[in-house]
């Protein structure tokens, strides 16, 4: 495991939870929230995050949401039984983020030939997406730097991101001017 992983080694926070099948809406809401947090799914109703002040608090509030919706939830602090086991979990989390970053890189590449307004719009969207991925990225993969570089290079190709300027760029601007 690379050295930048060491801060998270051996300190995990686990959420064990169970929710009623019906209604399904709160169960799906919790599932989505956990996806957004980038949890490792260790088993049925058992998820984990490297433990720090923020992740512990995030899972505490998910636990509260579970119990607010007639479920049961427990928070545990845990260390893995072996380094190999932890490596597997970290690898799965890193690989999930890697595909998200790769999607950003691909989206940035797809619009390099587009008009300036479109490029500016995509830059804003992808920066927000990078922020979203970044906050659940505990074991940064090499794809992260590539994605950042792709978005910043796209940003560099846009002169005035906030000012729709070029006349050939689209009907919106033309209409605004008319």
């Amino acid at each position: 495991m690379s050295s930048d992983d060491e801060g998270a080694l051996g300190r995990w926070v686990l959420l064990a939870y169970r929710m009623p099948r019906d209604p399904s809406r709160p169960r799906i809401a919790v599932w989505r929230k956990l996806e957004r947090l980038g949890v490792a799914r260790l088993g049925d109703g058992l998820v984990a995050l490297p433990r720090d002040a923020r992740t512990q608090e995030q899972l505490e509030w998910v636990a509260e949401e579970v119990t607010d919706n007639r479920g049961t939830a427990q928070l545990w602090f845990a260390a893995p039984g072996s380094a190999a086991q932890e490596r597997d979990v970290a690898r799965a989390m890193r690989s999930a983020r890697a595909s998200e970053y790769a999607a950003v890189t691909a989206e940035a590449a797809a619009v390099t030939g587009a008009g300036e307004v479109e490029r500016a719009r995509v830059v804003r969207r992808l920066r927000a997406e990078l922020h979203r991925i970044g906050r659940r990225d505990f074991f940064p993969p090499p794809e992260r730097d590539a994605a950042r570089a792709a978005v910043e290079s796209l940003a560099g190709s846009v002169n005035e991101p906030d000012e729709p300027a070029e006349p050939e760029l689209g009907t919106d601007e033309a209409e605004e001017r008319a």
Binding site: A53, E60, W61, E64, D68
Partner: protein, 143 residues
Amino acid sequence: MKWATRAGVHIDRAACAWLIRRLVDPEAVFVFVADPAEVPAEATPFDMRGVELGHHGGDCTFETILRRHRVDDPVMWRLAEIVHEADLDDERFDAPEAAGLDAILRGLSMTCPDARVLELTGPLFDGLYEYLRRGMLLDRPPA
């Protein structure tokens, strides 16, 4: 009155303490606990799991307190959007101020004890409230 919350204060707890002093209990005394079991019997707990003044129905604790006290001040609710995003970052609201506030509070929690964080953030929230109030009156960002 005594109020208790989790140690390691971040944005929601700092903003709640300011709100409690401003709207609910000017004489509020705050204690910080590591475990819910340590909350003194006479204290009202907030921003902890399993208490009334916590996160409920997608609201952060600041919003929960505003609802419990039926606050309808639009400036306070705008401030609540910023606190919500700084705390949860779930994109429910458009609050670009949130990222900066989150960074400032995270930094303070690294360099100051909890009581000091509350001392420092009190004037910060006073100022933010006034900024938002003027912006709302002018209907544009105030100078």
